[in-house]
């Protein structure tokens, strides 16, 4: 691993200050940063450790939204009664990230900052219309996650910005959601395709709101606006589900890699979107 200077400040203010002063980079749980430093993909002269800033580890309702601190680990997401009730898709994704060891160390903010196209929590957060609040010595700003993610490993984060928290509006009682993941192995799998679906269906089986997000099939996790539009206002029938799934398939642009071909990934988008919608339809 390359050499670097290291500091591990106890407070957020200090992290921000040292980040600005040194022009360094952040490390939190380290589950992505350290392997990438081993291979040279991640480089930094200064590494500022966020892992002591425990004030950023929380899940709390706030003014009609739910806020999750950037340093919140996956285990905390999984064990949160609030998220189990109101963001099951995020809980399901967290349960499938890496293995237990990764779920203790890895953080939600880290999953966002790493910006892997296959990052498991990203499609659920996109489906939740999550916004990310960033802080730095210069102040703070809030930006939609969809705008933050810019490409594989690329975000709109300025070098001196820290992910303070992620927030999304609380959902009405009739909202249901699901996360489905396909990997080449059952344990410790990296997603070949993952899909998050969020649905609100009224009493007449008409779709009030539909959000579909896909992972590992484009440079960033993406939403499927056309597929969502097909659903909106319509009764949730098998025909409609099929058309929606087909649309989602057309909206993605996967690549071939060591895990799967682009063609397989595209086809799996259709299968998983269809399954997700069917499962939610059956629940409602």
């Amino acid at each position: 691993m390359q050499e670097f200077y290291f500091e591990s400040p106890p407070t957020l203010d200090e992290v921000c200050r040292r980040l600005s002063d040194t022009g360094g980079r952040l490390i939190a749980g380290g589950t992505d940063v350290i392997p990438q430093m081993q291979t040279g993909r991640f480089q930094a002269d200064w590494l500022i450790d966020l892992s002591r800033v425990t004030e950023l580890s929380y899940i709390a309702p706030k003014n009609g939204s739910i806020q999750i601190g950037g340093l919140t680990n996956y285990i905390k997401l999984i064990n949160s009664p609030l998220l189990q009730a109101e963001g099951p898709l995020l809980v399901q994704a967290a349960e499938l990230v890496g293995a237990v060891q990764t779920r203790y160390r890895g953080t939600l903010g880290g999953n966002i900052a790493n910006a892997s196209p296959a990052g498991d929590t990203l499609p659920p957060l996109l489906a939740l219309n999550a916004a990310v609040t960033l802080v730095s010595t210069a102040g703070g700003r809030t930006i939609p996650l969809a705008d933050l993610l810019q490409g594989p490993g690329q975000t709109a984060l300025a070098p001196n910005e820290v992910i303070h928290h992620i927030s999304f509006d609380r959902l009405p009682a009739n909202a249901t959601s699901i996360f489905l993941k396909l990997g080449n192995r059952r344990g410790m799998a990296i997603s070949v395709v993952n899909v998050a679906v969020l649905l609100q269906v009224d009493q007449d089986n008409r779709v009030e709101e539909a959000r579909i997000a896909l992972g590992a099939v484009a440079p960033t996790p993406i939403r499927c606006p056309q597929a969502e539009a097909i659903l909106k206002g319509q009764p949730l029938t098998e025909t409609l589900i099929e058309a929606t799934a087909e649309s989602a398939k057309q909206e993605c642009s996967p690549i071939d890699d060591v895990r799967a071909s682009a063609g397989y990934r595209q086809h799996m988008v259709k299968v998983l979107v269809r399954r997700g919608l069917q499962m939610l339809g059956n629940k409602g």
């Binding site: 192995r185 344990g187 086809h267």
Partner: protein, 728 residues
């Protein structure tokens, strides 16, 4: 066998305590004061001429002591069977993991950093990335003295195959492919080299045969064998992948040259490109049978990817002379086999030594025949499988005590099949819970030789020393047998305790040090419990006799020689190829997701014959472990190379089964039919659990979705593309 008090007991293994407390010392766990660190520089390209090597920049780095290259190696060659590889490449490199140079420095980081500064200029040569291309006329040569890139060629002729095929009622002709497999032992290669108190260059490492390592080190360093010493500590798995040397010679050379302790530890990526792989093999089969299912002819062509160097390619290929037709007796067999040099990572020993590949193709042929003849899979196997009196394809009679028919019947019963008029009825699979899933059941059988055979003069050395005055207070068992994790040392102690009138806890194992023990032979070919077991038994009996003759301490031992096998006739392959076999039958129930191609194994039945289980708990461990490794080979382990480059050189891309993937319900049944050679009737069980799982899975998948697969692994994508031939 009457009145055994220790053989047959599931006693706790001797090394368990040190392993669960972290006290066991593996190759990288030992250090010496003042030691240096070694970094080996790989070719990093599949085929190239070396134009120049410039170490000057590296040598100027802080802490760097020396840069070793070909010029530093007294006899620059290595190879377990034939010396076709150089310790450090001088003129050209033949695969990405070829070793070109090595840096020795005061710290590991300094060595790694300096290694990047060794400037090696190459001129790339055409890359041969598959054996079919390499066999073509005009193809570049991997080794200039091997025309056609043929590393080995073997033949077998029994009866008149063409005449028999002409008379067959049915012919099944298919081509199969099985992929490379990475052993993925959890402990990457490592070791410590030093000069011992008697001036011997000593390598403490993990391997499968201390004495084979020693011979190759001594030859390369041009030292008499007495001046070299190899010691194994705790070994973190092997599965055949440690049969060939990896770091041993470079480490010995560095320690010898510098007369200082030197340490090396490979990372996982270095391990994956640095040691051999299970051979990828193309198998072309044309079998003929009668209407009633009786096999009459098999014509087989085998093309094995030897990779860049021989390693054990010739021997793996030779095993096809009996194994190509699986566990079946066929009166007319012809087999032509080729091991072909390419620029891939060399093929080497890997649990089963060719038998898993051979058995996969043979079992698939049986399934095809059964389907086309309208026979059930149990009946056709029982009708043709080897039994007492059977002649193998090598035209020798199979050793007596063949339990296979009984194992197949038991396995069929256990999975829910039953006998009915005219044959057997396989059970229907349980219904799947989702509408997009299908379940199916499949069964397969197989056999595996124990010991090398084929005329290799085989045996094992051991020494037992009894201490005490009036009574035996303790016994030392000296053996170089490698405990690679299979529990060899514990099982050998149990065998000694069976012979000696003292309890197990008074038997001390003195192991795996060439300075102390003679050659026990490698931990390979399911052989140690049989061969080293016989040697220990013989040594204990002799020591006990001498104890009774009042010798104090009483020492017994020497070499136990196995009954001889014979070399195959080059034209017909006729010979006595092996003295002992293990047998097995396995059945699985799988669930296939027909929309994603994912396969889940719901349950498995495995019926095996350990002859006499010395330690039943360890026997079941071997079988369960073999099954899991075979599951990986069949389903998730997709070793990808592209133009000679390995694309799956990490455990995040090469996917071995996790505990979440492992078959949740395995029913193991052991039926004991004592072997004629093994001590107390023991048969080797190290490999047999692996042999027939893959074909059982493929048969079960066919039962579920009515599609045959001729290639492994069954990745979701491959399965789906077969189910949906039109999809992208």
């Amino acid at each position: 066998m009457a009145n055994l008090h220790m053989v047959g007991q599931s006693v706790i293994r001797k090394d368990a305590w040190t392993k669960v407390t972290g006290q066991a010392q593996y190759a990288s766990d030992v250090s010496l004061p003042g030691m240096l660190y070694l970094k080996i520089i790989f070719a990093g390209r599949p085929h190239a001429r070396i134009l120049s090597i410039d170490s000057s920049a590296a040598l100027k780095q802080p802490g760097v002591v020396v840069v070793l290259t070909a010029a530093d190696v007294p006899v620059n060659q290595r190879g377990l069977i034939i010396p076709d590889q150089q310790v450090f490449c001088a003129e050209k490199v033949r695969f990405v993991g070829d070793q070109v140079a090595a840096v020795v420095a005061e710290t590991a980081e300094q060595a790694t950093r300096a290694a990047r500064l060794v400037k090696i200029e190459y001129e790339d040569l055409p890359v041969l990335d598959n054996p079919l291309g390499a066999m073509k006329t005009g193809a570049a040569l991997v080794h200039e003295d091997k025309p056609g890139n043929i590393c080995h060629q073997v033949r077998l002729r029994r009866g008149d195959v063409d005449a028999a095929l002409a008379q067959a009622d049915i012919i099944v002709e298919r081509e199969y492919f099985t992929p490379m497999q990475e052993h993925a032992y959890l402990e990457p290669e490592g070791g410590l080299g030093y000069i011992d108190e008697q001036g011997r260059v000593t390598v403490r490492t993990s391997g499968q045969s201390t004495h084979d390592d020693l011979r190759q080190i001594a030859a390369a360093l041009d030292l008499p064998q007495e001046r070299v010493r190899v010691i194994y500590g705790a070994i973190g798995g092997a599965f055949g992948g440690r049969e060939d040397v990896s770091i041993q010679i470079a480490l010995a050379l560095a320690a010898w040259k510098l007369q200082r302790p030197v340490k090396i530890t490979w990372g996982r990526d270095e391990s994956i490109i640095g040691h051999g792989k299970r051979h990828a093999i193309i198998m072309r089969h044309k079998w003929g049978a009668r209407h009633d299912g009786t096999l009459i002819a098999a014509k087989v062509e085998i093309i094995s990817d030897a990779g860049a160097y021989n390693y054990t390619s010739g021997d793996v290929l030779t095993n096809f002379r009996y194994a190509a037709v699986g566990a079946y007796e066929i009166p007319n067999v012809s087999m032509d086999g080729y091991a072909v040099y390419t620029n891939n990572v060399p093929g080497c020993a890997c649990r089963g030594f060719g038998s898993p590949q051979a058995t996969f193709a043979a079992e698939m042929q049986m399934e095809q025949l059964a389907e086309q003849l309208g026979l059930d899979p149990v009946t056709i196997r029982l009708q043709n499988c080897v039994r007492d009196g059977s002649m193998l394809a090598t035209q020798s009679e199979i050793p007596r005590g063949v339990s296979l028919p009984k194992l197949i019947e038991t396995c069929a019963h256990e999975i829910g099949a039953y006998r009915q008029a005219g044959g057997w009825r396989m059970p229907a699979a349980s219904p799947a819970e989702e509408r997009y899933k299908r379940r199916g059941i499949g069964i397969a059988a197989g056999m595996k030789n124990s010991g090398f055979g084929w005329g290799f003069p085989e045996g094992s050395e051991a020494r037992v020393v009894l201490h005490g005055v009036a009574e035996i207070e303790r016994a030392e068992v000296h053996t170089a047998a490698a405990d690679v994790g299979q529990g060899a040392h514990s099982v050998l102690a149990q065998i000694a305790a069976e012979v000696l009138p003292i309890p197990l806890d008074r038997i001390e194992m003195v192991t795996s040090d060439t300075a102390d023990s003679g050659d026990a032979g490698p931990a390979s070919a399911s052989r140690l419990t049989m061969f080293a077991g016989n040697a220990v038994k013989q040594a204990a009996e002799q020591a006990l006799q001498r104890w009774r003759d009042e010798e104090r301490p009483a020492t017994g031992g020497g070499r136990w020689n196995a009954p001889p096998t014979t070399k195959p006739d080059p034209e017909t392959g006729a010979c006595i190829n092996s003295i002992s076999y293990a047998y097995g039958a396995q059945a699985v129930e799988v669930e296939v997701d027909i929309e994603t191609g994912e396969i889940r194994i719901i349950k498995a039945v495995a019926v095996h014959d350990p002859g006499r289980a010395v330690n039943p708990q360890q026997v079941s461990g071997q079988l369960q472990g073999g099954i899991a490794q075979a599951q990986g080979w069949a389903l998730t382990e997709n070793f990808i190379t592209q133009g000679g480059y390995v694309r799956t050189d990490r455990l995040s891309t090469y996917l071995i089964p996790t505990i979440l993937d492992a078959i949740p319900d395995i029913k193991l049944v052991c039926l004991e039919e004592p072997d004629v050679v093994g001590p107390f009737g023991v048969r080797g069980v190290g490999e047999i659990g692996f042999i027939m799982l893959a074909p059982a899975i493929v048969s079960a998948v066919h039962n579920a979705v009515e599609v045959w697969f001729d290639r492994l692994p069954l990745t979701p994508e491959r399965v789906l593309s077969a189910l949906l031939p039109t999809s992208g």
